[in-house]
């Protein structure tokens, strides 16, 4: 599926998409949280870009680890430790690989989910980023089982995340800032889930267009 320079390209593309949607993410967070998610993500991913630009990476693990640390260190909100942990857990699945297969990608999503659950003491259905990430992983996993090709699997992941995101509108927030407004969060999309959908969408688009 991808050599290191393509992974870098995909992450850079994701960072650009986050940047372009900064305002939108902040508005989502303004409705049910503290209105900083766009700023947090934009700042975090600008440091990911910087890391990718300035660093040299021997392995995919190294690349994900350094990107994760950039998120952990510079986001400033819950999404920092959460996306950071996701990247660090992803890194651990990759070891000394210098190329990533579609199976690796699906595995990495799975590890990310576990990392977020651990860090956030959270689970599916609590109106968090997990509610985009879990359906994304499941759709991808299913597509692999069905023998779909890389672009198709990436597309399935993207669509899974978008479907999950849409579904978060129906959920009551149980974790994070949005849990303060409880029932009042119904009808709004979760900002962290929106970020997941943007990132996974950007990755799918990058490889589809490549």
């Amino acid at each position: 599926m991808a050599e290191l320079n393509q992974v870098i390209g995909a992450l850079n593309h994701a960072a650009d998409i986050i940047e372009n949607n900064k305002q939108h993410l902040t508005e989502l967070d303004g409705a049910i949280g503290d209105g900083d998610h766009g700023i947090n993500m934009s700042r975090g991913f600008s440091f990911v870009k910087k890391t990718l630009d300035e660093g040299s990476f021997e392995t995919a693990a190294d690349l994900f680890k350094k990107s994760g640390m950039a998120l952990v260190a510079h986001v400033g909100g819950a999404s920092g430790p959460l996306f950071g942990t996701a990247f660090l857990r992803a890194s651990m699945t990759l070891k000394d690989k210098t190329e990533i297969t579609i199976e690796d990608y699906i595995n990495l999503l799975k590890a990310s989910i576990e990392g977020i659950k651990m860090r956030g003491k959270s689970d599916a259905g609590e109106k968090t980023m997990l509610d985009a990430l879990i359906p994304a992983y499941e759709a991808g996993e299913q597509a692999v089982q069905q023998g779909k090709n890389t672009v198709e699997v990436l597309q399935a992941v993207k669509e899974g995340s978008e479907k999950g995101l849409k579904e978060t509108e129906k959920l009551v927030a149980k974790k994070g800032r949005a849990s303060y407004v409880g029932e009042r969060s119904i009808g709004h999309q979760d900002p962290g889930a929106a970020s997941v959908a943007l990132i996974l969408g950007a990755i799918a688009d990058y490889f589809s267009e490549a």
Binding site: D36, N40, R43, G76, G77, P81, L82, K121, K175, G176
Partner: protein, 128 residues
Amino acid sequence: MVGIVLVSHSRKIVEGIRELAAQMAKDAPVALAGGTEDDRLGTDMNKISNAVHDVYSEDGVLVFFDMGSAYMNAQMALDFLEEDGSKVEIVDAAFVEGAITAIVDSGLNKSMDEIKADIASMKLGKMP
């Protein structure tokens, strides 16, 4: 003396707590991690690591936090600590009330366990 680290989304809140407690315990080692790297409302893992580092000793460190992401960033900081992590504990306690009690206690040379006993009744179930 037990080190006390105060983690808050707001720099003002932790500065205020330190000021208040300092009236009663001038010598207690207290370090602040308030606000983000770029001084917005939020928390910062590196500020927390540095704060722990500043007040670390064999006597241990207690980390108080205000809410949500402060806890997650404190955990991350502990995961990446240079110091002996077994001596550093994040506590579930009412932020202002717990921190002031702990700072005064530390100034009285109470141990980690004694301080934890004194704030045991201030648990709020903040660590899910």
